[in-house]
């Protein structure tokens, strides 16, 4: 078992269109996030090299290409799985993202599951290999109390 983040959202498109936008147009909608820089020189532009042998890469301003992860499943319009590595991960450290596209009436529910943070080393926090977000949520009340008391003890939470 590994840590898991699960996020779902409905988008106004068919699964076919949603899959296409997720992959072929990722460079147009992806918003760079300082906390999740792929490389120290990021952000660049994300793109998928399509197909079952493809990969997700970030092209930096210098023209250098960083491989975020290889495609592990390419099943349009239903499912997409790819690896996810940030340059700061140790060799062999890896996480995986699974995206599924489900028709809901005229729309599509896009679900992202990001698993495997446990394999990220101590400096990346998961050393203690805690249970996944679902488990945490089930115990949300006391985790929140704990978090609140920790924040108080720690004074200010860093941005």
């Amino acid at each position: 078992m590994s840590s898991r983040v699960l996020v779902a959202l409905r988008v106004p498109a068919s699964p076919e269109r949603a899959f296409e936008a997720f992959t072929a147009e990722i460079g147009q909608w992806w918003r760079p996030n300082g906390l999740f820089q792929f490389t120290p020189r990021s952000p660049g532009v994300l793109s998928f090299e399509p197909g079952p042998e493809g990969r997700l890469v970030e092209t930096l301003a210098s023209g250098r290409v960083f491989e975020i992860g290889k495609v592990r499943a390419w099943e349009p319009p239903r499912r997409l799985v790819f690896g996810w590595r940030q340059a700061s991960f140790a060799p062999g450290q890896d996480t995986e993202v699974e995206v599924t596209f489900e028709a809901v009436g005229e729309e599509t529910r896009v679900t992202v599951q990001h698993v495997g943070w446990d394999s990220v080393p101590q400096t990346h926090v998961a050393k203690h290999g805690f249970p996944d977000a679902i488990f945490l949520r089930r115990h949300a009340e006391w985790w929140q109390v704990l978090l609140a008391s920790f924040k108080m003890a720690a004074g200010k939470r860093d941005a």
Partner: protein, 121 residues
């Protein structure tokens, strides 16, 4: 690495041990008190406490006045750090999926306000 995770999950899988964790939320307690409050024999409690200690969920100390007494306390850092990381990751994907939705919504402008030029920033 996964060994640590397995130990943690195993530690939390037992209802007595979860009860201990909940009690420790209120503050550190001696082993004897924990045994009494959870309703276990001291020997059974010390096995559970050892499992919790090995998982890193709790730590043991001795009060200055009596080295025979073992006091247990919760170690929140690993939970907090992971929780924070999970929250950040969740926030990242929520934001990205929101951006994907907005991107797709541009394909299908609402009927009330049809536009076909470049969307203004």
């Amino acid at each position: 690495m996964n060994g640590a995770l397995d130990r943690t999950l195993a530690a939390l899988a037992d209802p007595h041990r979860r009860r201990v964790i909940n009690l420790l939320r209120e503050g550190p307690r001696p082993a004897g008190e924990l045994a009494r409050d959870v309703g276990l024999a001291p020997s059974a409690m010390s096995r559970h406490l050892r499992t919790l200690r090995e998982s890193g969920l709790v730590e043991e100390s001795h009060p200055a006045f009596d080295a025979r007494v073992r006091v247990y306390a919760l170690r929140p850092e690993p939970m907090i750090e992971l929780l924070r990381w999970l929250e950040e990751t969740e926030r990242l994907w929520s934001a990205q999926l929101g951006a994907l939705r907005d991107h797709l919504a541009r394909d299908r402008p609402p009927a009330s306000a049809p536009k076909d030029g470049e969307p203004a920033e």
